[in-house]
Symmetry: C2
Subunit: 392 residues, 2 copies
């Protein structure tokens, strides 16, 4: 039995991917750019095993068996990896051998984070190691699993180039800067209480391309300018510029969703209260220290520098009072050195809006991080004696 | 003492006005098109009087004295009317005479309806009668009080042509079709409970012109196409087409507001629940019978045909339960012949979302209506014996 275990990170876009020019190959209508988050707080973990005794491909996701052979996107990723292996003529085991794959996300689905991006990146990365093709270009393969998965194959700042060719071979992700370039870039994810059913991203972007008059203008004119400007801001460590472009692009993505017919609404009143808070906070400190971005859901992802984490958390506590805030579980992830109950020298709280209580479920504190990693055998999710998932 | 009393209607745009190319003259960046609502349910009423004994211009609005001579927009309207009168050389009284003006809206400010449009239309119409220039082109004058006021000077469907000249003389409203053309076009205004402070329209559109990348594309490409298409739908009594264009344009206006930096958010979760309801209702009946539009606030204005009012109200009652619904005051305006508690033959309620209770304050039922009207002396808001407001 051949076994590989890997982890892959979540990524959060600063310049949003919204709209495909090819539904099957998952080719986007514009470039996008993301920050890879540290796998210490959030990651997908996948063990892939091949054995002559396996009767069919089986996948267990978060403890439950899920269709794999019937999942065209997953099968496409596998086929592409197998083709790379065949082309290299260095097969460790017969190509016909079936696979058992166990995958888990170590973050709650409730976080509304793009778990499919980390998941497909991890699947492709694990399969690439299993078939011995880990040094090949893998992002175009991960892209065919879930578009933004291609960006989770690198750490730091990553740009997904939309490409021009119809076969998608040039629609690949490339690193803009590694995480070491901007080590103190931290992230707070505000997980919002929400019940409304939302249109899926796949359906939402399809409808947007079909019905929004504004989306073409965004893709052709706005995004190229923004992408160039944010790459420049990253190179120069210009946080204020990075923050402004990030916020504008988040707003524009949601504007496009609203210009869709029927409209897609992903942010709710709490999301908008966070937006208002961030602008009020930046005004109070007289400087852009905090940026928001929202994906296809109500949860906020805030970017900030490490040195500002404590005053921002104190201001959040003031503006968004929460009965759970004394609980160790309310702020998850990287521990905060100081008591978030203190103002930490920030005296602008009086100028910030006070919201109703308990609008957030919890907060995750994390940071920019590395790309996927290969783990040792002791980390396997699969019992090598029987090829079944371990109960760990 | 010379006295004139007039009423003027509210108008609700189907194609939205958002963005000025000249802040002072109030010249818009695109055409807009509205429906004038019946003055039976909502109107502004204004009495304007001139007398040699008046020491200064005084205005009372909704029972309170408000600055008039210090209000540049109001003074500009007065000056323009006076210039028309001087040009005609038919003055009934010396141009130096001061005015007393009493104005009231018969609808609550809480309705969040554009009271300034009806108010300025009424002011200009009353002044025009006072100075004997009522037959002149008045819309370009009302426009300088409040942009959309120019559309309240006609009944039925009204188009405000943006014009091209820098002096604004061609930025005027013209009727598209009188209210008799589509007598059974009815309106339900859903007044939503809301607390959030919103950016004013004036400020919001100024920020949008300054910061939105998408607004120019909307003004130059989307609006001209939509306006032509909706004029065509009006001529043909094509309700489904009118409804779709209206909904798309409302959504696009709010998309532009969101693409503004910092973003302007006028709709709230309840507004979006209404949007969802309208699309679900149309799907359930298999036909577009209902359209929403939202101005710079959370309240919905629904367009529908008279024959559908009862099933729509029954469906609203089902989807938006309200403790006040038994009260006669919950549905104001045109009485509904049938009990809104009944389903009235509509059996699609099961497919509609059920929302939390008491999301609306009340509902106003009204219809398409006529332009401003001159009233008799018995309707005066001013005591002709002392020139002061009557307490009626």
């Amino acid at each position: 039995m051949f076994i590989e275990t890997c982890i892959a990170p979540v990524n959060i876009a600063l310049i949003k991917y919204w709209g495909k020019r090819d539904e099957e190959l998952i080719l986007p209508i514009n470039d996008s750019l993301s920050v890879t988050l540290s796998t210490d707080e959030m990651c997908a973990k996948t063990t892939a095993a091949a054995a002559s005794s396996f009767k069919r491909h089986i996948m267990w996701l978060n403890g439950e068996e899920v269709p794999f052979e019937q999942n065209p996107r997953a099968m496409r990723c596998l086929k592409e990896i197998q083709q790379l292996a065949l082309a290299k003529e260095q097969l460790k085991f017969p190509i016909e051998w079936k696979l058992h794959i166990v995958s888990r996300n170590n973050f709650p689905t409730a976080a509304g984070l793009a778990s499919s991006a980390a998941g497909y990146a991890c699947l492709v990365y694990a399969l690439a190691h299993l078939y011995g093709v880990q040094k090949e270009e893998l992002t175009a393969i991960a892209r065919q699993g879930s578009g933004s998965a291609c960006r989770s194959l690198y750490g730091g700042f990553v740009r997904w180039h939309m490409g021009k060719s119809n076969d998608g071979t040039d629609s690949i992700a490339l690193p803009v800067a590694p995480c070491e370039h901007w080590q103190d870039l931290h992230v707070l994810i505000l997980v919002v209480n929400d019940a409304r059913k939302k249109t899926s991203s796949t359906k939402g972007m399809q409808l947007a391309v079909e019905t929004s008059d504004l989306i073409k203008y965004r893709a052709q004119y706005c995004v190229p300018q923004r992408t160039a400007a944010i790459v420049d801001a990253i190179k120069k460590h210009d946080f204020a510029k990075l923050a402004e472009i990030t916020m504008r692009d988040s707003n524009q993505f949601h504007a496009i969703a609203l210009d869709t017919y029927p409209p897609c609404v992903y942010m709710n009143d709490v999301s908008h209260a966070i937006v208002e808070f961030v602008h009020a906070f930046n005004k109070a400190v007289g400087e852009v220290k905090l940026a928001y971005t929202f994906d296809a859901g109500p949860n906020a992802c805030l970017y900030l520098l490490e040195r500002d984490v404590s005053i921002v958390l104190a201001a959040i506590k003031n503006s968004f009072p929460n009965d759970a805030e004394q609980s160790v579980e309310y702020v998850k992830g990287i521990p905060i050195a100081c008591d978030i109950g203190e103002n930490n020298g920030f005296n602008g709280n009086a100028t910030l809006p006070i919201n109703n209580k308990n609008l957030f479920k919890y907060i995750i504190h994390t940071r920019i991080g590395k790309g996927p990693q290969r783990l040792g055998k002791s980390e396997s999710l699969l019992d090598s004696s029987n090829g079944l998932p371990l109960n760990n």
